[in-house]
């Protein structure tokens, strides 16, 4: 019998990321070539990285030295955060310690989890995006 923690620990690769609006509209959040890695470490830390395909390199060599436009393009096609994780009922809680998106630092990101075969599906609580309410559904396979 696998415990819920054992079912999660390890690295997961993104298979799909959909935004589902309240009116039923279902749109992929990223285009072809998107990638994602989600690590649930055995020591209680987690990290998530999500990137679109076809991202544009910066002109310079400094990750912290992009122009405003380079950074806007990079952040509209990439997201990353990390912190601790725990299971609470049907949900995984990510206690965000660091995030490139500053607003998430100190927040709890709740992800409702279900398993379908060898896939793990994480669903977010409702959020507003571009004036519309809906949720995201991210499907992962073991890396």
């Amino acid at each position: 019998m696998t415990t819920p923690s054992e079912q999660l620990v390890g690295t997961w690769r993104l298979e799909s990321w959909y935004r589902i609006e309240d009116d039923g509209t279902r749109q992929p959040r990223f285009g072809p070539g998107a990638s994602g890695l989600l690590i649930y470490a055995a020591d209680g830390f987690m990290s998530a990285s999500l990137m679109d395909g076809g991202r544009t390199p910066f002109a310079g060599p400094d990750p912290y030295g992009g122009t405003a436009e380079e950074c806007r393009a990079a952040m509209s096609t990439g997201h990353s955060y990390c912190g601790r994780w725990r299971i609470e009922g049907e949900a995984i809680i990510h206690d965000v310690e660091l995030s490139v998106f500053p607003n998430w630092v100190g927040s709890e990101q709740i992800r409702y989890v279900r398993f379908e075969g060898d896939r793990m599906i994480l669903k977010t609580p409702p959020t507003r995006r571009r004036g519309s309410t809906g949720y995201a559904e991210l499907t992962w396979r073991r890396a």
Binding site: G10, T11, R55, Y81, N103
Partner: protein
């Protein structure tokens, strides 16, 4: 001390980050209190996020992580970077094969970090690189989180 995967597996917290240039001048690119987490997972994957102390960073006006303005994104990325991929030990170095990175240029590269131990800390030394406008060899000191 011979390093095995078990020496590194787990999560590490950044203690110090110093860049030394060719003339010996030192810079702390994120100030005296940088923040960072580095995870070496048992399955061979790794993740690193390094930046400025979170309370010094400016929040976006909106709630969409992907929806910031150019100015918001530049402030965010000049104070935070993350990458992930696979890791191996090669002699007295850790090799990070980068699969994903906020900085697109790093994707597909191998980041080699020479390691040494100082008590319960590990110091990772980089080849010459530029970070936050400072160029040179960086030493990053980590302790177990």
């Amino acid at each position: 001390m011979a390093a095995t995967p078990e020496t590194f597996i787990g999560t590490w917290r950044l203690v110090a980050w110093v860049i030394t240039d060719g003339e010996g001048k030192t810079t702390e690119p994120m100030g005296p209190a940088p923040w960072g987490l580095l995870t070496y997972a048992a399955d061979g994957y790794m993740f690193a996020m390094l930046g400025a102390e979170p309370s010094t960073r400016t929040r976006f006006s909106g709630s969409d992580p992907l929806g910031g303005s150019a100015e918001e994104a530049q402030r965010a990325m000049s104070t935070c970077h993350a990458y992930c991929g696979r890791w191996i030990i090669d002699g007295d170095s850790l090799v990070h094969t980068v699969e994903m990175a906020l900085f697109p240029n790093m994707v597909g590269t191998q980041q080699v970090r020479h390691f040494r131990f100082e008590g319960d800390r590990v110091v990772l030394k980089t080849p010459p690189m530029t970070r936050k406008g400072a160029s040179g060899i960086a030493e990053l000191t980590w302790r177990r989180a």
